[in-house]
Point group: none
Chain length 342, copies 2
């Protein structure tokens, strides 16, 4: 299959390198990495299995179109999500070949991880878990009275290992009612005794992501362990429901099941407890080079779960203006079941 890629992670997966201005072209048995003068030195050293070519920084597509013309190919696949209407217009203008829409073909290739990728993902998960531990120690010591913005700032430094790792996304740090928003932005709300703390965060290690969420009671012996004792019975009930839902989904994850069956296992627990309409998102998503990749673990996902897929399991209950609870782990699918990593 001839194909063209622009997305940095898709290109990295093909050839082991990417920068912020490149196009990857696979034309028959040949592959090309086209970038501009700022990156050709590094690309020449690091790109595997492709010829590095230098194009004009503001018009790489000129070089790309020339290569396509010269190759004599009749058709080429592309991901219609990677190209803006404007760019695709400039790419395809007056080229008399067929551009085949193949949504997510790179993501589909990447759904089942190689052993090397699994090693990196496991290590990322270990760094992520360790950062949770250190952020927990920080909050235990200095958290009282801290506002979400300062806590978020500290979280960024800790999850970045003070500059040695990247973040897979900007951490979510939410206290109390702000945790009722599944993607809360940090506010000036201060952390008080007996408040609920939700943290969703991950590191990026060798370009691969970790992803994890914990919800905790801020009181004596504060930690991000899954065992949490809330001073309020209502909170405890919601928390325990989410925890049972997560366990049910982890147990339901087996090689050969449909992704929607995993979602169903979590959703049923939450529905039975009467909180069904407050579980407003799907149960999980693939994790790899992208923080969100395939498979989707949702009520409608017909994907068959395979060995060496890596995805999150993260049910939640969000009670507007009250609080929210989400518990998330990343799992690797093995023949024995879902293995929580990190």
């Amino acid at each position: 299959m001839n194909y063209i890629l622009k997305n940095e992670n898709a290109v990295y997966y093909e050839c082991g390198f990417s920068c912020d201005n490149e196009v990857f072209l696979k034309l028959g048995s040949e592959a090309f990495f086209i970038t501009d003068a700022r990156y050709t030195t590094e690309a020449s050293e690091l790109v595997r299995n492709a010829v590095v070519l230098e194009g004009d920084r503001r018009d790489l597509l000129k070089t790309v179109r020339l290569l396509i013309r010269k190759s004599g190919i009749k058709a080429i696949a592309y991901n219609p999500s990677e190209w803006s209407v404007d760019e695709f217009g400039r790419l395809s203008d007056k080229l008399s070949i067929t551009f085949q829409k193949k949504p997510n073909f790179s993501q589909q290739k990447r759904m089942v991880k190689s052993d090397i990728e699994l090693d990196v993902l496991r290590q990322a998960a270990i760094y992520g878990r360790d950062a949770f531990h250190r952020f927990g120690e920080f909050l235990k010591k200095d958290g009282l009275g801290l506002d979400e913005k300062l806590a978020h700032f500290e979280a960024e430094a800790i999850y970045k290992y003070h500059g040695q790792l990247g973040l897979s996304f900007s951490p979510i740090v939410a206290f109390g009612a702000n945790a009722a928003k599944p993607h809360a932005l940090p506010s000036h709300k201060q952390l008080t005794q007996n408040e609920l703390v939700l943290v969703d965060a991950g590191v990026m290690y060798q370009r691969y992501c970790s992803d994890r969420t914990r919800t905790s009671h801020f009181g004596e012996n504060f930690s991000f362990n899954k065992e949490q004792l809330f001073s309020d019975g209502h909170r405890q009930k919601v928390y325990d429901t989410v925890l049972f839902a997560q366990e049910a989904a982890i147990n339901a994850a087996k090689v050969g099941v449909l992704a929607k069956e995993i979602d169903k296992a979590a959703r049923e627990v939450i529905e039975r407890a009467g909180f069904g309409k407050f579980f407003v998102h799907s149960t999980g998503h693939g994790v790899g080079l992208d923080i969100h990749e395939l498979p989707v673990i949702s009520a409608r996902s017909e994907t068959i779960i395979e060995e060496n897929m890596v995805f999150t399991i993260e049910p939640g209950i969000y009670l507007p203006d009250e609080f929210g609870v989400r518990i998330e782990d990343t799992v690797v699918m093995t023949r024995k079941g879902a293995e929580v990593i990190g």
Copy 2:
């Protein structure tokens, strides 16, 4: 004009709120902000002048298409850079209306700032300047022997005000030869006595950006002031040339001139000094919600400069493998001329 927007800053400009999954629709006299369940609580509180509607998280376009159909409109404008081929296909499929390509129409609206925006931009610039001062104090005290990566990490913390502000972009911190790359990535190069230090950084305050660059001599009385004494005559000549070029461009910026005349004023100073081919970028760019917006201040820009435009003036000279100098300020256009802010 009917229009549809997806870009976060474009949407924020229309209604005072945006999140990471939304569409803004202007249909005749009505406006709609369509988002998913994760954001409707916040959106309902914060969106001005538009009706907030909740759509399916994975298919907001369903709601958007329904609204377009019900409105009976014949045509709608969109920015072809904001939409992927895939999304635009799903948006426009079987809708019998005309989609008018209007590149950058939001950016064009936003080119001349309101008084409220100017207040925010001035405050952002003051924070930006203050962060330069504090980062300068830090380098003066602890900079010797520090590598670019650590200096960059410290710069991020300082420009973020330890979590109270955002960054308009990841700071550029480059020493010596690395400063010859206009977009240098931080390396393990260490700061030594009499080295040249280039810092390009800005804060984000209430979503608006500041932008500033200083190049300094690292020696006694180190600071990011514009008055710099280099121990090396060649560096001093290059520095003074860039400083004169910047002053010439600031003086040339008047209401009613073409943007290219501002570029020309800077470029002529650098060309006369014999460094023309080492000034490899344009003289400036608009600043606002986006760090790069309109007007473009380049050799080809025919934009007529108007009162209350806000843009950078940032000539530079880059001598490969030697060093680079860039001096940048952000200015507000007033009837009296360009006012440097911050």
